[in-house]
């Protein structure tokens, strides 16, 4: 037990020094002095609860994806049956209640219709399920419902694009070192350090930015609009700002078909309207979009058209003359800020799915700095007081224990830096638990040595027995902690995981320092001094 060949000692010290050295850059940076660039730089990242910053969890709203799919399906079905030979006439089309239903006028054509529609669906997921469920009710009524597997698949695909869009928008804000991670099928985690007020960020991320231009249906009477009744082929869209409304009704009827979508933009900038100096957003279409826009405006001179953003009307100006240059201005009740925000959103593209903030945790930088400073002071005072107590209780062996403890703390930091992990407040709790466990190991050993001495064993034999007999309990205690830590890491969330990571690292380093290193020092001392009695 007390046999330590030289090569083993060299290895132990090398390992210790490596880990401690890895902790140096992190400690250095607390003093806020920059670490020289030419040196390797392993760093412990401080969690947002310590460093200050925002953690935002976004989730896709599947209902919108489902609605969109039904709308697209309606268009596909319409064009299929129109092009069929012989033509199939369908009627009573409804896309409400999360499903698409229609009647085939000639019941003899039901099978043929099914043949036509089937290729519009594809397999989704591993179970062989399809993305649409097709049923025929009452002989001739088709009911198409998007299946959950299909919606999940669509959400998943949309989220891939959404993550990119989110990244572009955050970059446009100029925030430093953001972390954007897709989580599960329908979530995105955004972490931005050191942000004082995340409100701008959140409203930017929450904006779907789906831009549409649709013709206003001037045949609708204001009373019908107020009651939500739209003429056939039109729909009612509310105004974004009630004060923009015409004639006291905060909504407008627009034609469902024949509009232009805003996904053909090449640029969007905030600018000022030349006459009124109001903030507006100038947009530029790509060639295809520009041509469509020119056609729409040429055919509808002197008619109003609505600019719709995320299902709300921004404004409904008159088309005074054809707009042929492929660029236009969007007016609405903007401030410079909101116009700028919309420009960023339009530039980065529309989100293919609505995102909602379902969790936010923001810590102001002042509070974070306060926590770090107080945490360090408490750690320092606690360690000093603990060292005094342990040395007073165990003398020389207490000194070994304290040395081991300090090395242990540095090693935990070092390993965390090498593994590039993040230290959070619960992580500090894990730190405290580890220190407790490490001290306990030395207490167990030293008490056992005392006992063995009291039974009349010789010095060397007592030390040997002390380490041997105490090791069993230390081993069992640490294994149980490892079991707990691994389970916490696997099944816990956020804070509990941060705790578990530090605990796992700490268990390994504390066994190494509190058992192996102190035993080596004790062995060296015994060999060198050959004591006949122990002060313990």
């Amino acid at each position: 037990m007390l046999d330590f060949p030289r090569w083993k000692q060299v290895w132990y010290w090398a390992l210790t020094l490596l880990c401690v050295a890895a902790a140096v850059p992190s400690l250095y940076s607390i003093g806020s002095a920059p670490w020289p660039d030419f040196l390797p730089k392993p760093m412990v990242n401080l969690g947002l609860d310590l460093a200050g910053g925002s953690h935002i969890l976004l989730e896709a709203d599947p209902s919108q994806v489902s609605r969109q799919r039904i709308e697209n399906m309606e268009e596909s079905v319409r064009s299929r049956v129109r092009q069929a030979e012989p033509a199939i006439r369908i009627g009573d089309i409804s896309s409400r209640d999360g499903r698409l239903s229609f009647m085939v006028e000639n019941p003899a054509q039901v099978d043929m219709t099914r043949e036509l529609i089937l290729p519009l669906t594809t397999g989704a997921g591993l179970t062989g399920q399809r993305d649409w469920d097709i049923k025929v009710e009452d002989g001739s009524r088709f009911v198409l419902t998007p299946t959950k597997a299909g919606i999940d698949l669509a959400v998943g695909q949309a989220m891939e694009t959404a993550t990119e869009v989110v990244r572009k928008r955050i970059d446009a804000l100029g925030t430093r070192e953001p972390t954007i991670i897709r989580q599960g099928n329908d979530r995105i985690v955004v972490q931005v350090p050191g942000l004082k007020d995340p409100a701008a960020l959140k409203s930017l991320l929450g904006q779907t930015a789906k831009l549409e231009f649709k013709l206003v249906d001037t045949t609708a009477s204001p009373t019908d609009i107020a009651q939500g009744i739209a003429p056939p082929g039109s729909e009612i869209v509310p105004y974004a700002n009630a004060q923009d409304a015409r004639g006291g009704v905060a909504a407008i009827a627009v034609k469902r078909l024949g509009g232009i979508k805003g996904d053909t933009l090449t640029d969007a900038r905030q600018s000022n309207e030349s006459q009124t100096n109001q903030p507006v957003v100038s947009i530029t279409f790509d060639q295809q979009g520009g041509a469509k826009f020119a056609k729409l405006t040429t055919e509808n001179v002197n008619k109003p058209f609505a600019i719709i953003l995320d299902g709300k009307v921004l404004s409904a100006p008159n088309i005074n003359e054809p707009i042929l240059g492929g660029s236009a201005q969007i007016s609405g009740s903007f401030t410079v800020e909101t116009a700028n925000q919309l420009a960023i959103s339009l530039r980065s593209g529309a989100l293919p799915v609505d995102l909602k903030v379902i969790e936010e945790r923001t810590v102001g930088p002042d509070l974070g700095a306060d926590s770090i400073q107080k945490g360090l002071v408490a750690m320092l005072v606690g360690t000093l007081a603990l060292a005094a107590f342990i040395i007073a209780t165990y003398g020389r062996f207490g000194v070994y224990a304290c040395l081991a403890l300090i090395i242990n703390m540095l090693m935990i930091l070092g390993v965390m830096a090498i593994a590039n992990t993040t230290l959070t407040l619960p992580g500090i709790a894990g730190f405290v638990l580890t220190i407790g466990a490490a001290v306990d190991a030395n207490v167990l050993i030293n008490e056992r040595i005392r006992e063995e001495r009291a039974r009349g064993r010789r010095v060397v034999q007592s030390v040997e027995m002390g380490y041997k007999e105490a090791s069993r309990a230390i081993f069992d205690a640490n294994i149980t902690n490892v079991i707990a830590a691994v389970l916490m890491f696997l099944f816990g969330s956020g804070p509990i995981r941060g705790f578990a990571i530090v605990l796992m690292i700490g268990i390994v380093t504390s066994v190494f320092t509190a058992v192996t290193m102190t035993r080596m020092w004790a062995a060296n001392w015994l060999r060198r001094a050959r004591p006949t009695d122990l002060v313990l």
Partner: protein, 324 residues
């Protein structure tokens, strides 16, 4: 040099003489804790019920205008806020749970936080927003499930390991002691209505870790003594084991208390509740390893036959010396 010795050698305190009264009291306390949780309920934080909490510091005034804030936030129509001091009189937290029937509005928590922050900023220019937490109902129920799952599985996993390493009776004893610790801690949270959030779950996990350390040290000594003194009656043997490890128990607990008290006195305000829970847990954990985990071995009929003794060279010399 004279070293500090808190516990004299060869103590012989009859801890287990009081096992029945202590067990009775503990069982009653556990029942009371469960009843308290059932009747008063836990003051669950926004982590677990959803809602928002913001922390505000008023930089220009010595004390936060609590009554005024209560009115301003209440006027937003989300319900009555809970306003608490947070360290200093000018630092407060404003907490608000999700209103009933908001399951299908995942963005509500964030909107509440945003409106409240805006209102406070507008009315009090010197208000510094130090932190915003908003958790939707969906996320909070996930956090609750995963937190409790992690806690339960950790306890179960530990007990299974102890069963494998020792005997099934020890596993049952450890599990019972852990349940005792957790129940009493949660009972205390129900009694004081202190906020119970994810950080407190981490505190309970830490407490389990400490308590378990104690259990294992005593159990390890029991196992050793069972091999050594094969004819000693169980109560006596358990008393001996507890006494032999008493000095270690005291020194370790004191060491931990030193670190924890310094965290309580000098540490960040944010983890005060957390540290307080662990400090309390040290006492509960030490008590439970002596009075909950140990006597149960008598009732579960552990005996020397549970372990096959293995005699080491040193043990043999010792035995020969005794026989001589």
């Amino acid at each position: 040099m004279k070293l500090l010795k808190l516990i004299p050698d060869n103590t012989n305190i009859h801890f287990l003489k009081w096992r029945v009264p202590f067990y009775t009291v503990s069982l009653l306390l556990m029942a009371a804790s469960i009843a308290l949780v059932a009747v008063k309920g836990l003051n669950l934080g926004v982590d677990f019920v959803g809602g928002q909490m913001i922390r505000v510091t008023f930089e220009q005034t010595p004390a936060a205008p609590v009554a005024e804030l209560r009115e301003q936030v209440g006027a937003l129509g989300f319900g009555e806020p809970t306003i608490q001091e947070f360290g200093k009189p000018n630092e407060i937290s404003i907490r608000m749970k999700l209103p009933e029937g908001s399951e299908d509005k995942p963005e509500l928590a964030e909107q509440m936080a945003r409106k409240i922050t805006t209102a406070i900023r507008a009315a009090h220019p010197d208000a510094r927003i130090d932190g915003v937490d908003s958790v939707s109902g969906k996320v909070s129920s996930e956090l609750f499930t995963t937190g409790m799952l992690a806690l339960g599985l950790a306890m179960l996993g530990i007990s299974i390991y102890i069963w494998v390493r020792f005997e099934w009776q020890f596993g049952v004893g450890a599990l019972f002691a852990l349940i005792h610790d957790v129940t009493l801690t949660i009972g205390l949270f129900a009694l004081t209505q202190m906020e119970f959030d994810l950080n407190i779950v981490a505190a309970v996990l830490t407490l389990i870790g400490y308590s378990l350390n104690d259990n294992i040290v005593v159990y390890d000594r029991v196992r050793e003594n069972l091999k050594k003194y094969r004819r000693m009656p169980m109560p006596e043997l358990l008393d001996l084991s507890v006494n032999e490890t008493l000095s270690r128990t005291v020194v370790t607990s004191l060491s931990l208390l030193i670190t924890l008290v310094s965290l309580l006195l000098f540490g960040p305000d944010v983890i005060f509740g957390f540290t307080a829970a662990i400090t309390l847990g040290i006492f509960v954990g030490t008590y439970s390893s002596i009075y909950m985990a140990t006597p149960i071995l008598i009732w579960l009929k552990v005996n020397a036959g549970s372990f096959v003794p293995t005699e080491t060279e040193i043990d043999r010399q010792e035995r020969l010396a005794r026989e001589r």
